[in-house]
């Protein structure tokens, strides 16, 4: 084989290897950034749902008797005492329109339920999941003098 042929072969071999490696790098970095963004998104939704559920089960809301005058409502809390939900507050919350409540949930759509331990729905509010991503938080509470589960789903 002549030197010219060897050099040409050498050039094409190097070009092929370089092309494969560059393609691998581009595809990998693209996948990494997509996956990182998805993880970030999921974590953000989970953190938001934890904070909202904490606000619901541990705080009275502001003002503390907002259920008597919703015009003064600053933020929603459903507790009568730590982890004991006020029936008046919960019923008032359940009667809110979705658009009204979403001002306080912000960013995401939501679905809120209170269930007893048999799985029977006692209270529902919001829109059932109809998106691409969702996160569900379940909190154990006392509601209407009995053990119950408060379930909050954030979705988009």
């Amino acid at each position: 084989m002549s030197k010219a042929q060897i050099s040409t072969f050498d050039f094409y071999a190097a070009l092929m290897i370089a092309t494969v490696l560059i393609t691998l790098i581009i595809v990998s970095l693209n996948n990494y950034s997509v996956k990182l963004a998805q993880n970030q998104d999921a974590n953000e939704m989970l953190l938001e749902s934890l904070q909202i559920s904490d606000s619901f089960v541990k705080t009275f809301g502001n003002p503390t008797s907002w259920e008597n005058d919703i015009e003064t409502l600053n933020y929603i809390g459903l507790a009568e005492y730590d982890r004991i939900l006020s029936k008046d507050k919960v019923i008032q919350f359940a009667n809110f329109s979705y658009n009204f409540t979403q001002k306080y949930i912000r960013i995401y759509d939501y679905y809120f339920r209170i269930l007893d331990y048999n799985g029977t729905e006692l209270i529902t509010q919001g829109l059932i999941f109809n998106g691409t991503n969702s996160v569900t938080i379940r909190r154990h509470v006392i509601y209407d003098d009995g053990k119950a589960i408060m379930e909050l789903t954030l979705w988009k």
């Binding site: 290897i17 490696l21 990998s28 990494y32 996956k35 989970l46 934890l50 982890r83 154990h140 053990k147």
Partner: protein, 140 residues
């Protein structure tokens, strides 16, 4: 006298082998860097789901206390009620001090375990006593 360069007696000489080694080394370096990036970016699961685990444990202890179950200081009653409300994917151990009552399973050492405390007072006709409950909760 000219020194003879060492030769590997290859058909096309030394240069082809050196080129091949160079290409293989470069490929290994690139693939290693990509793997390290992958492992670094996605090596650990997020800590945020562990917050949910901790809240579940805290909620359960709070509910048991409100229902008066913890104040019975009876291991069997506490374990029975705990099993009714503990989600199936979790396991839990509860210890009540100062009596050192223990209810629940052995704490594992090969996974994340969330822990917390809750203080309570038992009051009877003659006196009141301070206690606290420590819980550990983990995924099965």
């Amino acid at each position: 006298m000219m020194m003879e360069k060492p030769s590997w007696n290859l058909h096309f000489g030394n240069k082809a082998l050196i080129f091949t080694i160079d290409a293989v080394a470069a490929s290994i370096i690139v693939i290693t860097i990509l793997l390290v990036c992958y492992l670094y970016l996605f090596r650990t699961s997020s800590e945020i789901p562990n917050l949910s685990l901790l809240r579940t444990g805290d909620d359960i202890i709070t509910v048991l206390e409100y229902e008066g179950i913890i104040k019975t200081l009876d291991e069997n009653i506490i374990l029975s009620e705990l099993n009714k409300i503990l989600p199936v994917q979790y396991d839990m151990q509860i210890k009540i001090f100062s009596e050192i009552i223990t209810a629940g399973n052995q704490i594992p050492d090969d996974r994340f375990v969330a822990s917390g405390r809750r203080f309570f007072v038992i009051t009877n006709e003659t006196a009141s006593s301070n206690h606290f409950t420590q819980f550990w909760i983990w995924s099965k």
